[in-house]
């Protein structure tokens, strides 16, 4: 009885008008609260996503709506030697960069997971490449890869390892390697900090148990750390793969896709054809080729989310 007497007057203070009742209804209030976020995502994400797929099937140009051409753009692209080179470039760029970022990021995570003096400051500064604007660090790499004033060439010449000048961005394979190196530099911290978070959740008792069983450092890593770290590694790798395949700014600032289209990725070619060239339909079709990567990534992450 006493309980009812306490709650009854309190309830009376809640508004009883229509708006008040709506705001007290879990379902109505819930829908109301997600509406602003959903509106923005619907207008500027879902709608352009659909529009982009549609544009890929049209011959739209800047200023002209265009009309449906079926698979015309895709058929044209598959016969286009530049586009085929872009598929090759993107595969090479993403595979090389993601593998190196994963290996180096894991190594760095294992290093800073130890106890040492200055641990906090090291963990803080190792993230810098990832937080500063990529377009600005791309400018630094552009300068580091200068054909005449490159600091790498200067150093190599000083210690006698090189005699002439190195045209980092003038040779197709050298340009690819240079851009992959810049991408790795930027991505290592992301892997390191993500994997470090995973390493910290591994209980030390597991390592102690492994030690009692006579496991060495390598065995401890392979049989204790790695299996526990795997789910997080998959998530980080999936994210990084999407970002690397969809990379734009590093390439556009440093090489603009050159020399001889050797460093063009889907994003830069789509920009060149659609925004600079005006062929909206063709550009949208090029962007659409990122979709299979996205779908594969979604399936993989769902698989792991369900297992968690």
């Amino acid at each position: 009885m006493a309980g009812i007497e306490v709650t009854a007057p309190a309830r009376a203070t809640r508004p009883a008008d229509l708006i008040g009742r709506i705001l007290e209804n879990r379902h109505a209030l819930g829908v109301l609260m997600v509406t602003p976020a959903l509106l923005i995502l619907a207008i500027f994400l879902a709608y352009p996503f659909g529009l982009g797929v549609w544009l890929g099937f049209t011959n739209a140009t800047i200023g002209q709506a265009g009309h449906f051409v079926g698979l015309g753009n895709f058929r044209y692209l598959l016969g286009d030697s530049v586009f085929r080179l872009v598929v090759l470039n993107t595969t090479l760029y993403a595979a090389a960069a993601v593998v190196c970022k994963l290996l180096l990021g894991l190594l760095l995570a294992l290093l800073v997971n130890r106890e040492f003096r200055g641990k906090r400051i090291v963990r803080a500064i190792m993230l810098l490449p990832w937080i500063v604007p990529t377009s600005l660090s791309a400018l630094v790499f552009y300068w580091i890869y200068d054909p005449t004033f490159s600091v790498i060439t200067w150093t190599l010449r000083r210690i006698g390892l090189a005699h002439g000048f190195i045209n980092y961005l003038g040779d197709p394979n050298l340009a690819r390697a240079s851009l992959i190196a810049a991408n790795i530099w930027r991505g290592i911290p992301f892997f390191a900090i993500g994997l470090l978070a995973g390493l910290q959740t591994v209980s030390t008792t597991l390592y102690e148990a492994a030690e009692i069983d006579g496991a060495g450092p390598w065995q401890k890593f392979w049989f204790v750390t790695w299996p526990l770290l795997l789910p997080l590694t998959v998530v980080v790798t999936v994210f990084s793969t999407i970002m690397t395949v969809g990379d734009f700014q590093l390439i556009w600032i440093i090489t603009r896709g050159g020399p001889a289209n050797a460093t063009h990725l889907f994003g830069t070619l789509a920009y060149q054809r659609a925004i600079q060239g005006g062929f909206i339909g063709e550009g949208a079709a090029i962007s659409a080729f990122v979709l299979p990567v996205l779908v594969a990534a979604v399936l993989v992450s769902f698989h792991y989310l369900r297992r968690e």
Binding site: A10, L41, V122, M126, L136, L232, W252, I253
Partner: protein, 278 residues
């Protein structure tokens, strides 16, 4: 004993220093180039790794002979605007999805997570048309409204994790005392979720400050550009590079995010790892 010291040096100290040198060298290079006078900059017989006579001339040129100052203003307005829009939407959405559990909230939560995976490369071409039709071309509003498309999914996901960690009993107590659902959110949940909100805020600001592709496509006139786009387009003209002012600009453009980051490093790392682990 000596052997183990050597082992530590080879397997720990040396690799760690190598990593730090590799990761920090570009910043060092940015700094020494920004303060190096032209006659030292383009003279290969001098020691390239050090600047003998530091100068402010590149900063002066950058600040008074280029559009850097309007770019700085634009970048600030856009980053603050986009962060405000994204965070207001995300706090409400995350609370509704995590706490109210209304009909359809499960599906919506997954949909918002999936939208986080859509890269801007897929969206920029159709978005350019939409921005044009809405009459937002070359205006800050174009970016303030489009940046939330990658900020909201991230921030919502992050905040849902924070709301989950707040005991529901606290909210139930307030409800029993007669608080409305909105009062509970304002007086109980939000103050407790402040660290999470701060993480989302810092992250959103940094991502908006750094964005390049949308800013390149949706802004066309020189004075309306942002720093990431403006520097590369105005200071790289044909074959004439102005490396001094360019590096000065790269330095000044990186300082705001680096400063915010250094003050809130714990929140930043918590945000990044929290979003990955959720």
């Amino acid at each position: 004993m000596r052997r183990s010291a050597l082992t530590t040096a080879l397997t720990f100290t040396l690799p760690l220093w190598a990593f730090l040198a590799l990761l920090l060298f570009p910043f060092y290079w940015m700094l020494v180039t920004a303060v190096r006078p032209n006659k030292e900059l383009y003279n290969l017989s001098l020691n390239q790794l050090w600047t003998m006579h530091p100068t402010w001339q590149h900063f002066q040129k950058l600040l008074f002979a280029t559009h850097f100052r309007p770019w700085l203003g634009n970048t600030m307005v856009i980053a603050v605007g986009a962060t405000t829009v994204a965070l207001s939407c995300s706090v409400l959405a995350a609370y509704a999805l995590q706490r109210l559990r209304f009909r359809g909230s499960g599906v919506l939560g997954v949909a918002i997570f999936l939208s986080y995976l859509v890269p801007p490369v897929i969206l920029f071409i159709p978005l350019a048309r939409i921005i044009n039709e809405l009459g937002l071309w070359d205006r800050p509003a174009a970016l303030i409204l489009t940046y939330p498309t990658f900020l909201i999914p991230f921030a919502t996901w992050l905040l849902m994790g924070y709301f989950r960690s707040i005991p529901a009993e606290l909210e139930d107590c307030a409800r029993i005392d007669g608080a409305t659902r909105l009062q509970v959110l304002r007086h109980i949940t939000l103050p407790l979720a402040l660290p999470g909100i701060l993480s989302a805020l810092i992250f959103s600001f940094t991502l908006s400050w750094n964005e390049y592709l949308y800013a390149l496509v949706f802004l066309s006139s020189t004075e309306s550009k942002t720093i990431p786009v403006g520097l590369a387009t105005e200071l790289i003209t044909g074959d004439v590079f102005q490396w001094g002012p360019l590096m000065a600009g790269a330095l000044l453009g990186s300082v705001p995010v680096a400063l915010i980051y250094s003050f809130f490093v714990e929140h930043y790392v918590a945000g990044l790892t929290g979003a990955l682990k959720e």
